[in-house]
Amino acid sequence: MSEDDTRGVGDHSPADDCGHSIDELADYLATGSSPYEGHYRQCPQCQSGLASLRSLGDLTRSLAEDDARIAAESDGWLQDILSNLRLETRAGRSIPVASDDPDDGLSETEGAVVALIRRTGDGIDGVTIGKCRLHGDITEPGAQTRVELSVTALHGYRLPTLVDALRSAVAEALTTHTELDLQGVDITVTDLFGTDGAGEDQP
């Protein structure tokens, strides 16, 4: 199928990326107004980005003020998460969905699935997702796929338990909401923050 074929599955990706940056979204959240407000209301990528920024805001508020300062200044933790959000708040690739009619072209956006995984992870107490990537040729039906996550854990939680819970939740979300062949969820705890262990890097 050529890229010029407006009727193909390629309709959806990657040209649907709207071009608005995570920094614009952050400004919108901070000020409550934007000349692109109308667009933000109707764009799934922007809404996903706004949701992630709100989640990040909740996390930073939950940390002690000194923790957040140390995190932001010492190792770029906050910047790393923002950088990943910049990458992930895109429509991304089209993940095919099997159809009953041969003339149907059904799909889900990679951005929707990544946002779902991120929300699933952030919903577990003690964890914030830093990076989320889908590895594999997910544009092919039933593609073998691995999920790569880097996470920040809050001090005071037992890491093996935390990681197991995250892996199970992400696996369930992916197998429920896509037709990808999940091969594994690779999780790296990259940071450990909390009242007693602020700014500690996990070995």
Binding site: D11, D16, R41, V97, S99, D103, D104, S107, E108, T109
Partner: protein, 132 residues
């Protein structure tokens, strides 16, 4: 043959919005995409840009384009197929040979619903995220 497309698009929109698990519809293309495609001569009729359902005839083939948000309580693939079925139901006797393109663009939890255009009960386009 093309004059009924806006009515047909509205019928499709209503059918999709009534589908269980659908949280809302997004415009069929991003603004950038719409601009890029504005000059395509082979599109003889289209409703893109006028509503939340993309509907066009290309070389005699009816092409429907839906982008939607689904509730995360419903498994995504089955929901996408249900939406495609709803579209074909709305097309009626024009479903034969039509191309139906359906894409799930976001998974929404209940708390997210006000952010989605066309959310049932929200009266169409909703307020900005976090500002309601």
């Amino acid at each position: 043959m093309t004059t009924d497309l806006p009515d047909l698009a509205r019928a499709i929109e209503a059918q999709v919005m009534a589908t269980e698990g659908v949280a809302g519809l997004y415009p069929p293309h991003s603004a950038l995409r719409t601009i890029l495609e504005a000059g395509r001569a082979r599109t003889v009729a289209a409703t893109d840009g006028e509503g939340l359902v993309g509907l066009r005839e290309e070389a005699g083939t009816l092409v429907v384009h839906i982008r939607f948000a689904g509730l995360s309580e419903y498994p995504g693939p089955a929901l996408v197929r249900r939406v495609a079925t709803a579209v074909r139901h709305a097309l009626g006797d024009r479903a034969e040979g039509a191309e139906v393109r359906v894409q799930l663009c976001a998974f929404m939890a209940g708390a997210d619903l006000p952010d989605v255009a066309g959310t049932p009960g929200a009266g169409g386009v909703a307020g900005p995220p976090g500002q309601d």
